[in-house]
């Protein structure tokens, strides 16, 4: 039985006639070469460059996006600085305008005060002048009336003694001069 088994084993080995697996058959080499050349060309000339191009594009896009974000950020910061500067300028301007307005207002007040004082002075002066004129007129009128009244009074007192024209005139003149002198003396006495 064992003998048969061994014989069978040997026969099986003989029948198989398997080549040495370490020695490649010609067809094996030929087809392997074809496969490797085809795969190498396909990968190196087509597939890898094409996929790599997409990978590179993606990297570029991501980097480009980051750079763009940075630029936008910088621009935003610059705009913020600009706005703050403008705001500051506007505030300064407003303060300046307020200051000016305040100055102008006080100038206007001062001016109107001056004008009012001048007006008041003018009114006072006018009044004074009118008073003077009226007093002058009153004085002139008074002089003639006082003359007449005095003459009449004197005529009544003295009577016929003063019929003479020349004498009457002399007496009146002298009386008026005395009267004027006393009036001037009274004015001077008032402290004018």
């Amino acid at each position: 039985m064992i003998g048969t088994a061994v014989t069978g084993l040997i026969t099986a080995a003989d029948e198989a006639e398997t080549p040495n697996p370490l020695l490649p058959e010609t067809y094996d080499i030929v087809w392997s070469l074809v496969i490797v050349v085809v795969l190498a060309f396909f990968f190196l000339k087509y597939a890898l460059p094409k996929i790599q191009a997409v990978l590179d594009e993606r990297t570029e896009l991501v980097e480009g996006g980051l750079a763009k974000a940075e630029t936008v950020q910088a621009e935003a910061e610059a705009a913020l600085v600009e706005y703050q500067k403008q705001l500051q300028d506007a505030r300064t301007e407003a303060a300046r305008i307020r200051e000016e307005a305040r100055g102008e207002a006080s100038a206007i007040v001062a001016e109107s005060r001056t004008r009012a004082q001048a007006e008041a002075a003018r009114i006072v002066e006018n009044a004074q002048r009118q008073i003077d004129a009226e007093r002058q007129q009153a004085s002139v009128q008074l002089r003639s009336e006082v003359g007449t009244l005095a003459t009449e009074l004197a005529s009544k007192i003295v009577g016929e003694s003063l019929e003479d024209e020349a004498r009457r005139s002399r007496v009146v003149e002298r009386f008026l001069d005395d009267l004027e002198a006393s009036t001037t003396a009274a004015d001077a006495g008032k402290g004018n």
């Binding site: 398997t18 094996d28 496969i35 396909f42 597939a47 996929i51 594009e57």
Partner: protein
């Protein structure tokens, strides 16, 4: 004793009838020709699996490349993640920024291609890795070999390249008696050979493991004697575990190949480090 032996005999791949156990063998990797038998263009099952993986990879990458958008879809995100990993995690990490940028496309190509050709080992109905027959790993390894030889000679000159590789600085002169032949073997034979064998042996072993587990399960469930049937559960569980392991190995071996490509390029181009 006799019965035990006879049941053992039924487990072993001795008889030719359907009820026997088909152990996976090296013949799996050299299936009968489908087309052009005996010519250098012979096409068998493994070649067809490779064509399918290649076509699938080209279709996936074309769709992603054609629809590539700035805001990626789900598929594009996955592809971009792998590309990013190859570029940053492998190329830049090992070769530095400048060389990394130059070689990232090659490393990315190798990572994607080997992964797709590996993963067919766990795709139902394909069931064998395109890289489990030595030709394909060998061509990938020769590509890397040619790349580092040619680029190193181009940038350092033949003398500079050989001096950097065979007489590494910083060791006493007499050490070169031993070191130089070893380094020679390393640069001109061992690096490409280990790249090839590591990949192909891993994928081959993976296929054998999976095939063994699943064919044993099938045999134990449907053809074994009643008492042996429960063992099928064990082999099925083992097969499932190995399946997950193989998914991981498919990715890991692609990563290992890609990272070693970067390492070998770095060692050839910057021998002073």
């Amino acid at each position: 004793m006799e019965t035990a032996l006879s049941s053992l005999a039924t487990i072993l791949p001795l008889a030719a009838d359907d009820s026997s156990f088909h152990a996976p063998s090296l013949a799996d990797f050299f299936p009968p020709a489908v087309l052009f038998e005996g010519t250098p263009f012979e096409i068998n099952r493994v070649m067809i699996v490779r064509f399918i993986a290649t076509a699938a990879l080209i279709i996936v990458m074309t769709v992603v490349a054609k629809r590539a958008k700035l805001v990626p879809g789900r598929g594009q995100v996955v592809i971009e993640m792998v590309m990013n990993f190859a570029r940053k995690g492998i190329a830049d990490e090992i070769l530095g920024e400048k060389l990394g940028k130059k070689y990232a496309p090659v490393i990315t190509t190798i990572l994607f291609s080997i992964f797709f050709l590996n993963i067919t080992g766990v795709v139902p109905f394909l069931n064998i890795a395109g890289t489990s027959v030595i030709g394909l790993p060998l061509i990938f390894a020769l590509w890397v070999f040619a790349l580092y030889l040619i680029d190193a000679v181009r940038s350092l000159g033949v003398g500079g390249f050989l001096k950097g590789q065979l007489f590494p600085p910083g060791v006493p002169k007499f050490v070169y008696i031993v070191l130089t032949p070893v380094e020679f073997l390393q640069v001109f034979l061992l690096r490409p050979a280990t790249l090839t064998i590591r990949l192909f042996a891993n994928m081959m072993a993976g296929h054998l493991l999976l095939a063994l587990c699943f064919s044993a399960t099938s045999f134990l469930f449907f053809h074994a004697a009643g008492g042996l049937k429960p063992l099928g559960v064990v082999t099925l569980a083992g097969g499932f575990a190995f399946y997950l392991l193989e998914v991981f190995v498919a990715a890991l071996q692609a990563y290992v190949f890609a990272i070693l490509t970067a390492v070998y390029l770095q060692m050839a181009l910057e021998p002073e480090h």
